[in-house]
Symmetry: C2
Amino acid sequence: MVAAIHLKLSLAAQKRASYAGDVMGVPDLSLFPFLAGLQPASQLLLAERTRRISCPTSTHLVSRGDKVAGAYLVVRGALRVYYVSAEGREGTLYWVEPGQSCILALNCTFSRLAYPAWVESDGKTEISIIPGEVYRELFAREAAVQRFTFEALSGRLFELMALVEETASQGLEARIASFLLRRAKGGATVAITQEQLARHLATSREVVSRTLRRLAALGLVSAEPGLVHLVDHVRLVRLADWTA
Amino acid sequence: MVAAIHLKLSLAAQKRASYAGDVMGVPDLSLFPFLAGLQPASQLLLAERTRRISCPTSTHLVSRGDKVAGAYLVVRGALRVYYVSAEGREGTLYWVEPGQSCILALNCTFSRLAYPAWVESDGKTEISIIPGEVYRELFAREAAVQRFTFEALSGRLFELMALVEETASQGLEARIASFLLRRAKGGATVAITQEQLARHLATSREVVSRTLRRLAALGLVSAEPGLVHLVDHVRLVRLADWTA
DNA sequence: TCGGCGGTGTGACTTTGGTTCCAGCGTCAG
DNA sequence: CTGACGCTGGAACCAAAGTCACACCGCCGA
């Protein structure tokens, strides 16, 4: 339909990218309904310049300090945004899930801000990358894009405010409870190793092991290798959500 | 010039508000240059609906859970955005300084998000409050407002990412060093009591006292009641900025 | 069958930071 | 002068969490 125009995709992303089988790089409209309402010209622009990439789990996409611009729309899987401390301990800042996006600098000509964190795929992941200039164009003339952008940013902002508060003022028990609840998404079991859990929460495996056993002893969870079952949902919520 | 239209200003803000002497509530254009380029209709809307309020230090403006919408543009002084943990300890998330703004929900009709933190004035402060509907209007039709909003939000986002990392992976020494450097803004001395310092960093006065003395013993700072002098700027930076 | 190896359990120890309690010191109003 | 109050110093103690070392179990491939 439209000739593919090659452009510099950012870094490692391209290296490991394998174009998915769909016609263009435009993400599913079911996940990003606001795209359906765009002007024809915008749709065309999107179709021409968006690239869908697809990668296995734990694919490294962005490093701290990378100068990136544009928007990463997640279609499948998830992106994990995390930091790495001086001692090499890492902690997850947030996930970008299907239907969400990671919007980076727009003013990509000057002040392409260096991204302050790392990004990797979490699970087999497909994302549509809209280059900075293109996104800026769309943002300038499409109210729907403006709104989407605003919500994405302010949503993350609120999330991060909560995270700061959580990490600063809650013990590990509560933080683990909170983490598990968020991850389970209503389900009763989370598939995760204690090692991974430790990395998400920026702590060590041993500490997670201890804490998890304490929670198990209290009857809140039960664990087996690679799995954590949420036994007492109610008490877990009470433990995690101190605002109650 | 334009008749003042009274509207419900949010909460406590109004209670203590005393209108400043300038003609309208529109903030200084020197601080917010993007406002100068707006269409005449927008300028009129701003002039009609913006309210300037002015308050002494430590005036409580927003509580967690308040349903607020709109933008707070800081003209003088500063706003301090902070959280309060279950045990009553507080920590500062960030400051909104002159020329900056605190942009809250825009979709103020539905989903007026509850604000997740507290806001108070820090120093004698003047702010211009643009109501939610008005800001939404401006945002919809003024590219400059869109851009300003985007930068404000993504700037905060990056700040908060750094804060999460800092609180999670740095010791108090480093966090205090970092805090003092940011506050000094190039100067060599910070006017702050240890009590206040403790509140900003979500710790206790005694701990700050100890840590500060340790830093003093190392020759990094020197302290007197209500003041902290930055003695060895270089080593302070090295201590705070572990990325070096 | 025999090692690896990934995932986990556990004890002992250290460090950091939070808590409690009290003492000193300067300023300022009465 | 004096007492109250705000700010700081400092000891003793405690709790949470990070660190180190090692042991165990199950699985899988050589």
